[in-house]
């Protein structure tokens, strides 16, 4: 699984949305993720990719693609 597929799988599991409905452009607003959902998602991502995401970086996450490019820049 590449980073994008992994991220989609985690988002799908954490936020209980079908993985097929997620694209790189999907925003968290569209899938009704609130701020606590995002924090939980970040916790899962940190664990999966063994990295730390700062509060400021969390602020900048708006789409699935934002997460993918962020993780690709770190690993």
């Amino acid at each position: 699984m590449n980073v994008e597929e992994k991220v989609k799988a985690i988002v799908s599991e954490q936020l209980e949305v079908a993985v097929d409905s997620l694209t790189i452009e999907t925003t968290f607003e569209e899938i009704d993720a609130d701020s606590l959902d995002i924090v939980e998602l970040v916790m899962a991502l940190e664990e999966e990719f063994d990295l730390e995401i700062s509060d400021q970086e969390i602020e900048e996450i708006k789409t699935i693609g934002d997460i993918v490019s962020f993780i690709e820049s770190k690993v």
Binding site: D34, L36, E40, M43
Partner: protein
């Protein structure tokens, strides 16, 4: 009968008083209990022996919850031993009573640091693992009627406990959607070391204002905490007084 089989409960400041009674109540209901103390190791070890003697499971961890790193250490030790935390009781508390005009800044800070900041510290440390467990959770904060109605000679203690109450309500709103309930109990006059030092005159006067005509026992508070931990499925953000009717 309230059951807590396979649940793990962390009770801060539990070597004596209300914390001790809470450990015993939760343990009797089947929970594995983490006993935390700041200084009184002997009392904590004795309590553990009592828990184990009755067939329960427990662990003693030293930590001063007024220091964030120590709260983290406490939570980590609990998870390493029991793998999960389902119930957190923020009970650790101190009082340094004095009239405001005579109160030293250190007396103010110590009481705020243990009672209020300690509640933040341990709850903060527990939140990530509790959310990750995805099985909800129970947080019970021990406040005080002084935190609702005020008490002469306790501006520090009342401010800290009032803060605990506001903390309770805010966090209840924040994490209710994850099945975690957050409630506060507000003891009145309970027979503990904290109230043993009060003068006879003050005790006599207090008794006259208690409809149930006696001081409470730590067990009176512990049974409410047990209820909130084991039942109370649809109760969150509440402050429940255990004070014999002292304030209504």
């Amino acid at each position: 009968m309230l059951k807590l089989d396979n649940k793990v409960a962390l009770v801060t400041g539990s070597s004596r008083g209300i914390g001790r009674a809470t450990v015993l109540a939760l343990s009797r209901a089947g929970a594995a209990v983490v006993i935390n103390y700041a200084r009184n190791r002997e009392a904590a070890e004795q309590l553990l022996a009592e828990v184990e003697g009755a067939g329960g499971q427990g662990l003693v961890v030293q930590a001063d919850v007024s220091v964030y790193e120590e709260s983290e250490k406490l939570v980590r030790a609990s998870l390493e031993h029991f793998n999960r935390i389902d119930i957190l009781v923020n009970n650790a508390g101190v009082n340094r009573d004095n009239l405001l005009i005579r109160m030293k800044p250190e007396e103010w800070h110590e009481v705020i640091d243990v009672n209020l900041t300690g509640t933040f510290n341990t709850t903060r440390a527990v939140m990530r693992p509790m959310l990750k467990q995805k099985s909800g959770g129970r947080i019970v904060n021990v406040a005080s009627v002084a935190g609702i109605y005020g008490n002469s000679g306790q501006v520090n203690y009342a401010a800290a406990k009032g803060g605990v109450i506001a903390f309770t309500r805010s966090l209840a709103k924040e994490i209710g959607s994850r099945g975690i309930t957050v409630n506060a109990v507000a003891p009145g006059f309970i027979e503990t070391e904290m109230t043993a030092v009060l003068s006879d005159g003050l005790k006599e006067q207090a008794l006259q204002n208690i409809p149930l005509a006696r001081f409470g026992k730590p067990e009176d508070v512990a049974e409410l905490i047990l209820f909130l931990a084991a039942a109370g499925h649809y109760i969150t953000g509440q402050v429940i007084a255990v004070d014999g009717g002292l304030v209504m």
